[in-house]
Point group: C2
């Protein structure tokens, strides 16, 4: 369907009907009969509007007056959340048409994804009813909308804080996990949408909405299948210029394609076609939730790097070799520092047991704030270097004087937040220790710092992967801007 501004109502409902909540449901119930968890989740988020349970067999559900039908609700309904069994869905939709309630989140599953004939047939009927009634169905087989600002969402303990990242997901589980897990990467959400089998509204419709949504700056997508690939390509290509689009296209392997059929009954498409999609749109490809979170954090908190030549500062010769291998494999270059920089570094770095070429094996600087500042200044002004990965060993930082340690961490935070020479600086803590204190410190910093806008990665691979994709994002933007004739 074409974009309908009325979708705005679905994202910011004031009146919500919940159809299919069991008459046995108790307040606060999270599991068990019917869709009690939807009411519980909305309440937990602090939803300010009105929720009307619908069940012909009850007069009160979870402390609220229950209505036999949507039509019998004595006010206009902005959003209907449906969790009845699949066989009962057609009747509920007819009721919605009568009630003139157009926005329907259908949680109900069990259609063509089961592969069973009668359920495929049922799906066809549902589509027909929706089309006839002009219903904007979100789903079926999905967890619907999470909008922190509107205080709506379908999962337990969702964050209430809003932010600039949107997520369009063809998996409810991914939406749940990313909404929670994203916090560890400093990610807050404007809107997140689980849209399942996409009978009526497809990913491209949500994209169209988010393209002009002033609260959304970055768009993440998890897609299994797409109805109109050309439309998606045109859209992403246009949107990606101003709002980076991070896309996880799943089901590209042989067995993944089969798994997609069992999940959302989508056609997954071929890997080669999707490779072309990324080149032509400049969207950022990722392959897991972790990569999606890393990439969103990177686009939020790391500026455009001038190039892809990286310097790594860490401890240990073996670690330096591994660092160079990892950077190269992820597409980054690790050139030697200039002779001038090396000469300056040798003035305060001992020659035996260290290396000042690049990667820098000078871990001891993490115990001395003056040497650390001097080294970072030299490396970030080196003309051979575009960005810097700091890889402090937490036992080096934490085992010294604790006042020094906090100075070192403060300095690292500041240089990551704002390097005066305009070259990105990011952090990867190196820690293989079983020491409980060190483990606690790492776990704490790993979450606290991204929340303050400091890019911290769980591994060097993760950092390199994200930085290379960041570089590629900006490079492709320029390349696409320079092209002519294929503009949408």
């Amino acid at each position: 369907m074409a974009w309908d501004p009325a979708l705005e109502t679905a994202f910011h409902p004031k009146v919500v009907a919940m159809v299919g909540i069991s008459s046995n449901a108790q307040p606060g119930m999270r599991r068990g009969p019917g869709g009690a968890n939807f009411i519980t989740s909305y309440e937990q988020l602090g939803f300010k509007g009105r929720i009307h349970p619908v069940n012909p067999k009850a007069t009160e559900i979870m402390g609220r007056k229950a209505y036999p039908t949507v039509t019998s609700i004595p006010e206009a309904v902005d959003l209907v959340v449906v969790s009845v069994p699949a066989q009962a869905l057609p009747e509920v939709l007819e009721d919605c048409i009568t009630a003139n309630a157009k926005n329907i989140h259908v949680f109900t599953a069990g259609f063509e994804e089961t592969g069973e004939e009668e359920r495929i047939e049922l799906g066809h009927r549902v589509r027909e009813i929706a089309e006839r009634g002009g219903l904007r169905i979100i789903g079926p087989n999905c967890m619907g909308l999470y909008v922190p600002e509107a205080r709506i969402g379908s999962f337990d303990r969702l964050p209430t804080e809003s932010g600039p990242v949107a997520f369009i997901s063809q998996s409810g589980g991914h939406l749940n996990w990313f909404s929670h897990y994203g916090q560890n990467y400093g990610i807050r959400f404007s809107k997140a949408i689980s849209f399942g089998n996409a009978y009526v509204i497809d990913s491209t419709d949500y994209l169209e909405y988010l393209a002009t949504d002033p609260e959304t700056r970055i768009i993440c997508m998890y897609l299994e299948g797409v109805k109109d690939g050309r439309k998606l390509l045109r859209q992403v290509r246009a949107i990606n210029r101003t709002k980076p689009v991070i896309l996880w296209k799943a089901g590209l392997t042989e067995d993944g394609t089969r798994a997609v059929a069992s999940h959302t009954a989508s056609l997954a498409g071929q890997e080669a076609i999707w490779r072309g999609f990324f080149t032509q749109t400049g969207a950022v490809p990722v392959e897991s939730l972790e990569e999606m979170a890393e990439m969103a954090m990177t686009l939020l908190y790391v500026k455009e790097p001038p190039g892809k030549r990286v310097s790594v500062i860490g401890l240990g010769g073996g670690t330096s070799v591994a660092s160079a291998d990892v950077c190269n494999r992820e597409g980054l270059d690790v050139p030697a520092l200039t002779v001038e920089t090396q000469t300056e570094l040798k003035k305060f770095i001992p020659i035996a047991g260290s290396s000042v070429r690049n990667p820098l094996d000078t871990g001891l600087v993490f115990r001395n704030i003056d040497d650390l500042q001097r080294e970072v200044e030299l490396v970030t002004t080196d003309p051979n270097i575009d960005m810097l990965i700091m890889r402090p060993h937490l036992d080096m930082v934490s085992s010294g004087n604790s006042e020094d340690a906090s100075k070192v961490i403060d300095y690292l935070v500041n240089i990551c937040r704002n390097n005066p020479h305009g070259k990105p600086v990011v952090l990867v803590f190196h820690s293989f220790s079983n020491d409980p204190q060190e483990f606690e410190l790492r776990s704490r910093l790993q979450v606290e710092l991204p929340c303050k806008g400091i890019p911290v990665y769980y591994s060097l691979n993760a950092a390199c992967r994200a930085l290379f994709r960041l570089y590629e994002y900006y490079r492709l933007q320029k390349e696409l801007a320079a092209e002519k004739g294929i503009m949408p």
Copy 2:
């Protein structure tokens, strides 16, 4: 040099001379002047032999009588640990020759790896002296030996327990981290060797020793360069038949090669040559410490799988798709279960919102021990399946009745330890929650279970990678055994 049974003395010394400990060193000192940390580490491990500090400017060091030279020590010295500055090394070695002390661990760095002319020259002199005196030099530029049984080692808080895994490492840092970190994977060590620039004893000499060492069942290696590649190939090919060899060959990228020169001044070699090495020897390739640990754990605790067709049991349709993609990309197949198995599963798994094809999206079974047992039994007896990856969501396991949860975990542990149908079963906890209790549970199980011999992986990628390599290890063994004429 050819293998010398006297190396045994170095691994189990009774008398150790420590040359280069500062006269200011205090008992328990871990950092600071000279090689105090060597004495501290040996003491911490509970070394039962005698340690004699050597320093011409002191009469007592760290509570022990100090000797001016090795020669002046009034008993035969089994091992000398040298941490003097590079320029002083020749004189110390001459002293060792006079004292007839042949096993020398040279910590001292600052030779050809610095790239400086006079230090390269100094390295040549050291080699000449060692050859003339028949010295078995371990190093220089290395952390030497860690032997839990002999209670010797050069790092802080090394585990004292012995085990069947040996580690030959051209990086001291890697040895340190792997020795600690390996504990989280249920790995204990027989011998670990950091051998640095390998002036005299090279990786092949240590291999020769470990090949016949009855305490060693699995050999891990981190190599930057090799002196005699053909010899290494012959050795690994032969040893790998009875003791799996896990090899991390670092420095194979362009920048990695340069980093190797700065670290141990080795020639790193070309990627294509090393690819051939792995095919011809059947050794298991890894690319990081994490992968090495995963692989050692897998070879220790997972039996030979009958094939590479895997089933994954988890929760969530999106997760199922991602699982299939990951398995395929790592080389495993995820075939559909037989129609018979699917029919049996459908008898107790609801059709809507689940999938019983493969991957199995049946997360609710992790809340019901009877269903779980029934499902695992069906899947592991399915003729299409060779191994099983269990991917329980910790919030599913932990949020139910705690007695049920512990039953589920006990069952999972048992089925991983010993599946009656001879098909490997492994665990990957799925957890994206910020819930502190869940985080604590995961962290605890992630370490506790491998210590009990249960293969638990940090991610599905890690599990698939390790299982595919395990399959490949056995497959190549058979292929190589069937070949004729190229036997060593």
